[in-house]
């Protein structure tokens, strides 16, 4: 990558906006995963009583089991959301930036 292209990209407002958008998405989704998972972990540590409650009076299945499986499913969904946004929003912007810089 030549210095010229680099300086062109750096002055491109689209590039600055891309970084901002992608960073916001990355860190927001990371924070959601951390809150979800460490929320689950903190419940194990401090309120195990809630996790071990059965989901219904006549069931042996505890609330914690649903939450645990829920965290697994939510992780898959969040990765899907990121990939969807990156494919449809970020990739076209990146292509545009690269095209404009190599003109």
């Amino acid at each position: 990558m030549s210095v010229l292209i680099a300086s062109k990209i750096q002055k491109n407002p689209k590039y600055l906006q891309l970084i901002k958008q992608r960073d916001t998405l990355s860190w927001t989704l990371s924070a959601i995963v951390c809150i979800m998972y460490f929320g689950f972990t903190l419940m194990i540590a401090f309120t195990p009583g809630i996790l071990t409650q059965p989901i219904a009076a006549d069931s042996v299945i505890p609330v914690g089991m649903l939450l645990g499986v829920g965290v697994i499913i939510a992780s898959c969904i969040l990765t899907g959301i990121y990939v969807f946004i990156a494919n449809n929003t970020f990739d076209p912007i990146v292509n545009e930036i690269v095209r404009e810089a190599s003109k």
């Binding site: 990371s30 069931s59 299945i61 990121y82």
Partner: protein, 574 residues
């Protein structure tokens, strides 16, 4: 209580009936299903089912290795499969790397003995993946060539930074290898008692040396993909067998398991291991270790250099996460299924009057016996071969990652200062593969009788406290300098090792030195913040000329990380 007792009697009877029906249907020739059990090695007939499956798998993988070898010409072919792997293929390979025999046999065994508790591990092992996707995967692909050290040293001083990264990679790889080798030896010896522990380990070492030296990353990736397919298929069939037995009702599965397990309702309340005390700090530290350790394993990070571009890297994490999440849900069903179908079954239990849970062949056997209970001898042979294949594939990936750290980071960059030719570098890498293979065999034999329970804690702690924070800081923080990265890296390594040695597992149980000086099994909650503080202080106070240049070089790094301009070219099609 009366109800529980009658259920206790009825279920194993039904289970035994089901097992005999299935096994006789599947295999009319072998009259005694007990033939597979390894309780009395002198008298057991050879487990032909497992051996035939092993041989088929090894044969297929050797053909793949041959084909891969004819197509491996450049360093990029050898280290990164020519960068021609698609997102879906890499997703399978990632899942293959991650679904080790330890997590298949280990998590099912955790569930079998402790119930609900096993799920806590599964969750922790999965949540690292979204973080890898959001923060690391694409930027890693855009910045690096073959190792994560490429990325960390992108704008920092090559020599010291690569040395630090390679040392921490090698510590993780070698300890991980010991764990896998010991597991392979024990598993193969239990399944086919005619093969001794040592012979089993030597066989594993020999095979992986062949795969990796000849086939490089191409062979490793395809072995991984096939094994992931077999493991997902086999585990799905087992879970299906369990659910068919339970009338496709989760409520019935869990009710039956509670009725049968000696701890009854406890298995649904086990937020900590049954018999252990809840400890908030320990839970959080375990959580940090599992989550960030995943994102710092060198053989996992290396996978992202094999794909064509950042988009494929991104997709591969989505596929990988879904496969791994699905697999963990299966292991949970399999663990509970084993409580219903394997526990209290005299065919599998060592001494039923003593404990209805303790199995012949040891604590990692619930999944293996469940395959027999739902599918008879052939299915047991298949699952045993899959477990063996899993070890081979994971060991191959680890060995290649370790050899790459030695040849690409230490030899080519640190020792030869970038003057080595591609041919020399690959040759050194192959020698390192052979060396690491031999080291793994020797250490596996040396550790046969050792307690290796701390190995997961050790490898994941170092990955979580060294590789992960240093990598993320080098990508996201302009201020990181060589001094900061090096001091942080060594703080992570030394801190993790020292606190683990002073902890309850090594200090008290293995060294028998009395009460632990550091009372927690997972030191991450102390070491990770220390690493971040050290990196910050050492970088901010660094006002050398080179530090200024390193900070200034961040802009160019950022452009390449975000746009992929200048990134290693991927293969067009394969």
């Amino acid at each position: 209580m009366k109800l529980a007792k009658s259920a206790l009697l009825a279920i194993p009877a039904a289970a035994a009936l089901f097992a005999t029906q299935l096994s006789s249907a599947a295999d009319a020739v072998v009259a005694a299903p007990a033939a597979v059990l390894a309780a009395v090695p002198a008298e057991v007939p050879i487990n032909w089912h497992a051996i035939i499956m092993f041989v088929i798998f090894v044969g297929i993988t050797l053909i793949i290795t041959y084909v891969a070898a004819t197509r491996t010409k450049t360093a990029s072919d050898f280290y990164a499969a020519g960068r021609g792997v698609t997102g879906f293929q890499n997703g399978m390979a990632i899942a293959g790397d991650y679904m080790s025999a330890a997590s298949f046999l280990g998590i099912t065994a955790l569930v079998y003995f402790n119930g609900f508790y096993g799920l806590i591990f599964s969750v922790g092992w999965l949540v690292g993946w979204p973080i890898i996707l959001f923060l690391i995967a694409e930027r890693l692909r855009n910045l690096g060539k073959y190792t994560y050290a490429d990325v960390v040293s992108f704008r920092l001083k090559q020599g010291p930074v690569r040395t630090m990264a390679a040392v921490s990679s090698l510590i993780v790889v070698i300890w991980y290898l010991i764990g896998q080798a010991v597991g392979a030896g024990q598993l193969l010896h239990t399944l086919v008692p005619q093969v001794s522990y040592r012979e089993a380990i030597v066989a594993v070492g020999g095979l992986i040396i062949i795969y990796v030296t000849f086939g490089g990353m191409k062979a490793t990736t395809w072995v991984q993909i096939i094994k992931a397919g077999l493991l997902l298929g086999g585990a799905s069939a087992m879970a299906f067998g369990v659910m068919a037995h339970e009338g496709f009702s989760f409520a019935k599965l869990f009710t039956d398991a509670v009725a049968l397990h000696p701890k009854h309702m406890e298995i649904m309340k086990s937020v900590v291991k049954i018999g252990a005390k809840a400890n908030p700090i320990e839970s959080i530290s375990l959580g940090l270790t599992l989550m960030f350790g995943t994102a710092g394993l060198p053989h996992i990070l290396m996978r992202f250099f094999t794909v064509t571009d950042a988009k494929a890297a991104r997709k591969s994490v989505l596929y990988g996460t879904c496969f791994i999440g699905y697999f963990y849900v299966l292991t949970f069903i399999i663990g509970f299924g084993a409580i219903v179908l394997v526990a209290n079954n005299p065919e599998y239990v060592a001494n039923i009057s003593k404990s209805i849970l303790d199995l012949k062949g040891g604590g990692s056997m619930p999944a293996i016996y469940l395959s027999h209970a739902v599918g008879g001898d052939y299915f047991l042979g298949f699952i045993a071969a899959v477990a063996f294949a899993t070890i081979l594939a994971v060991v191959s990936g680890l060995t290649l990652a370790g050899a790459t750290a030695m040849s690409h980071d230490l030899y080519a960059t640190v020792i030869m200062k970038g003057k080595a030719t591609e041919r020399q570098e690959v040759w050194v890498s192959k020698m390192c593969v052979i060396g690491l293979g031999i080291v793994a065999v020797l250490l596996g034999i040396a550790f046969e009788k050792q307690n290796v329970a701390y190995i997961v804690a050790l490898t994941f702690s170092i990955a979580a406290c060294t590789n992960f924070p240093v990598l993320v800081m080098s990508i996201f923080w302009r201020g990181l300098t060589t001094r900061g990265a090096i001091m942080a890296g060594y703080t992570g390594m030394i801190g993790s090792i020292v606190l683990l040695v002073l902890g309850p597992t090594i200090w008290t149980k293995i060294l028998e030195m009395g009460p632990a000086i550091f009372p927690y099994d997972f030191p991450t909650f102390v070491v990770l913040p220390a690493v971040l503080i050290v990196a910050y202080v050492a970088s901010v106070t660094d006002d050398s000329e080179s530090a200024k240049l390193e900070r200034a070089a961040y802009d160019a790094q950022l452009i390449r990380a975000e746009t992929g301009l200048g990134a290693e070219e991927g293969a067009v099609s394969h």
